[in-house]
């Protein structure tokens, strides 16, 4: 057990170092962009050199790069004041910066967008895991039979239909053409506001997003099961006289768990950075839409923040997966 603790703490250390590197890299990339961050703070058609110069000092863009990065980093832990005196704007830790385009602390913007994306991703994940694993098992179990053919057709449709098209089809047939449709055409209701309405507003986005992933998972689970079925230890299980059902349920699926968990974890982490298309189609104010708007408006602090958050989620998920792996695979624990 102490081995496991050492393993986890070492993995944590590595993760912290990687996160620092990620934040630094992202910061450098955006510092190299041919935009003057100070000029961007006063709007698109602003040419007043006085305001720009004042903002440059107020936001610390006059300082050397290293100092700027240090201020950014400390701001993440202790919060940050933009400007001084009565005009100062304070952002609480973790302060990612201040968006002049949206007149808000970036952290507040993230705080609004992240939950939407988290709800979207979790619902979709549950849905696609159930459908993908279920169909994958059926498909492998009845290989070459009608169920396998049907599920292959599902896989083909699911992988070839782009998300925005699936979303639009659902909107057209289940919202616009369906008389008395319970689903709102667009817009998002927070769960704490009205939970029923929240569920209704999320069903179609969940289905849309899960559809594409379920297809990929069906194919993946099917191929995993078929591959594991040729393993020697499955033949041993058969030679012991176990029923096909026990072999599949206990021996094959247990071995397929590790790769499925890995794939699901990484896909889930990727989605937390924002499901841009799904969010756009259903007009959900999540991370994807926040990033999209920020890119269009060249809202640098928001772009830096969403990039760092998305990358950090992937890094942290990798750490979680490594730790989960130690529980799934006894060979990793030493």
């Amino acid at each position: 057990m102490s081995g496991l603790l050492t393993y986890i703490s070492r993995r944590l250390m590595i993760t912290i170092i990687i996160l620092l590197a990620v934040s630094f890299t992202v910061y450098v990339i955006f510092a190299l962009l041919p935009y003057d961050p100070a000029a961007l703070t006063c709007g698109k058609n602003c040419n007043d050199p006085g305001i720009i110069a004042a903002n440059r000092i107020r936001l610390g863009y006059d300082k050397p790069f290293w100092v700027q990065y240090w201020i950014f980093l400390t701001g993440l832990f202790v919060g940050r004041d933009f400007g001084s005196g009565a005009a100062a704007i304070h952002c609480d830790a973790p302060a990612f910066g201040y968006s002049f385009q949206q007149h808000a602390c970036v952290t507040d913007l993230l705080g609004q967008a992240l939950p939407v994306t988290v709800y979207l991703a979790i619902g979709a994940l549950i849905l696609w895991l159930i459908v993908g694993i279920g169909l994958g098992i059926i498909s492998a179990r009845f290989r070459g039979k009608i169920w396998d053919t049907l599920s292959t057709a599902f896989v083909l449709v699911g992988t070839s239909l782009p998300t925005f098209l699936t979303g639009l089809i659902l909107i057209v047939f289940l919202v616009i053409k369906l008389p008395g449709s319970p689903f709102p055409a667009d817009g998002y209701t927070a769960p704490e506001e009205d939970f029923g309405q929240f569920l209704l507003s999320m069903v179609l986005p969940w289905v849309t997003l899960a559809f594409a992933y379920a297809a990929i998972y069906t194919r993946f689970v099917r191929s995993q099961i078929l591959e594991i079925s040729t393993e020697d230890y499955i033949r041993t299980a058969k030679a012991k006289g176990l029923s096909d059902r026990m072999i599949l349920g206990k021996h094959t699926l247990r071995a397929a768990l590790a790769p499925i968990v890995t794939m699901a974890g990484l896909d889930f982490a990727g989605l937390l950075g924002g499901a841009i298309l799904t969010e756009a189609v259903f007009n959900l104010p999540g991370m994807g839409r926040l990033s999209l708007t920020a890119v269009v408006d060249i809202d640098l602090p928001v772009i830096v923040a969403t990039t760092i958050v998305a990358a950090s989620i992937v890094v942290i998920m990798n750490m979680i997966l490594d730790i989960v792996y130690a529980f799934i695979d006894p060979r990793v624990r030493v």
Binding site: G144, E231, D232, Y233, R235, T236, A237, K238, A239, K240, G241, L242, S243, M246, H251, R254, A255, I328, D329, P330, R331
Partner: protein, 331 residues
């Protein structure tokens, strides 16, 4: 009386290239308490013939005909064509198997306790505690130290030889009448091989089991078997008691096999004799003698003789051979 009686067993696989006749009419008897070695090179059908009646070949593309009669408590049962559920009840109980590679034959994610207990639970409606005690008893028997603790270990925490011991313990969980050992020592170190073979010999006496030892290693055969079946091209080509076979091999293939073993007593400097040519394709192999293309004594026979396959005939007592050279020379 025979415990297992194999009659005209044929196994064919459908492949995109044609029908592979992996086993083309094999017959043999297995008596209680004896060790029958089946030798032959890769693709000779030595493994497939035994996997076939155990129901361990992929069903969809395999055709199995013939009969394999097993004596059970409820009388003789033909394993070929038996309902899958009934065959499953025999598998692991009356006939157990151990395999070539103990590294991959145990499930990496379950403790060996889990796997041993499971083997007992499938065929016995008893408390898990009873199965666990049985597992400890058998681990002790096969020479695993601290068996009660080792139940909680995973396969990767054992060495190859120890894992094969665990496999043997697992096979013995239900007191099988027949143990099929498919190349049980091939993947092991030479020193460990000897230990495993000795262990197999000991437990065989203790359990009064019949053992089918599938191997390509004649060294293993010499030390462990009572009788030897030599297979070539999916056919049984020679069968004799082990001493007799080593002393007086008849079929040119068997002679070639024996000549290809290094021998310390024949002095240095003698090059090992390899059998020229390649094993036959089991798709295009016709009705003729399977070994004809590689046979060193083909010239002794009249032209065209080898285009038919001879029957398996008894040349001496308990010494059968399928070879034109010995047709009409029975004693």
């Amino acid at each position: 009386m025979s415990l297992l009686s194999v009659r005209d067993l044929r196994v064919e696989f459908k492949t995109p290239d044609g029908i592979v006749k992996a086993v083309a009419g094999v017959s043999f008897e297995l008596k209680q308490g004896e060790t029958l070695a089946i030798v032959g090179e890769s693709g000779s059908g030595k493994s497939v013939s035994n996997l076939a009646y155990m129901g361990l070949l992929p069903q969809s593309k395999t055709t199995i005909t013939g009969s394999v009669i097993l004596e059970t408590e409820d009388g003789p049962v033909d394993l070929i064509g038996l309902a899958p559920e009934k065959l499953r009840a025999i598998r692991g109980k009356d006939i157990a198997m151990i395999f070539q590679d103990p590294m991959s034959a145990l499930h990496p994610y379950y403790t060996i306790g889990d796997q041993l207990i499971e083997a007992h639970q499938v065929h016995n409606d008893v408390d898990k505690k009873v199965s666990a005690d049985r597992a400890i008893e058998l681990l002790t028997l096969v020479g695993v130290s601290n068996p009660a603790e080792r139940l909680h270990s995973y396969p990767h925490q054992f060495s190859g030889g120890m894992r094969q011991r665990v496999m043997i313990a697992m096979a013995l969980m239900n007191n099988p009448k027949v143990l099929i050992a498919d190349e049980p020592t091939t993947a092991l170190d030479v020193t460990v091989q000897a230990q495993i073979l000795r262990l197999l010999r000991d437990i065989q006496d203790q359990f009064e089991m019949a053992v089918i030892l599938i191997t390509h290693d004649l060294g293993v055969v010499a030390g462990a078997a009572d009788r030897v079946n030599v297979m070539y091209g999916g056919r049984l080509v020679e069968s004799a008691e082990v001493g007799e076979l080593f002393k007086d091999p008849l079929m040119p293939y068997t002679v070639g096999l024996l000549d290809s073993i290094p021998r310390m007593d024949k002095g240095h400097g003698n090059r090992l004799k390899a059998i020229p040519g390649q094993p036959p394709s089991l798709i295009t192999l016709g009705d003729g003698c399977a070994f004809a293309a590689r046979c060193s004594r083909k010239a002794e026979l009249p032209e065209g003789t080898c285009e038919t396959s001879p029957d398996l005939i008894a040349v001496k007592k308990e010494h059968l051979v399928r070879c034109h050279l010995y047709v009409g020379k029975g004693k």
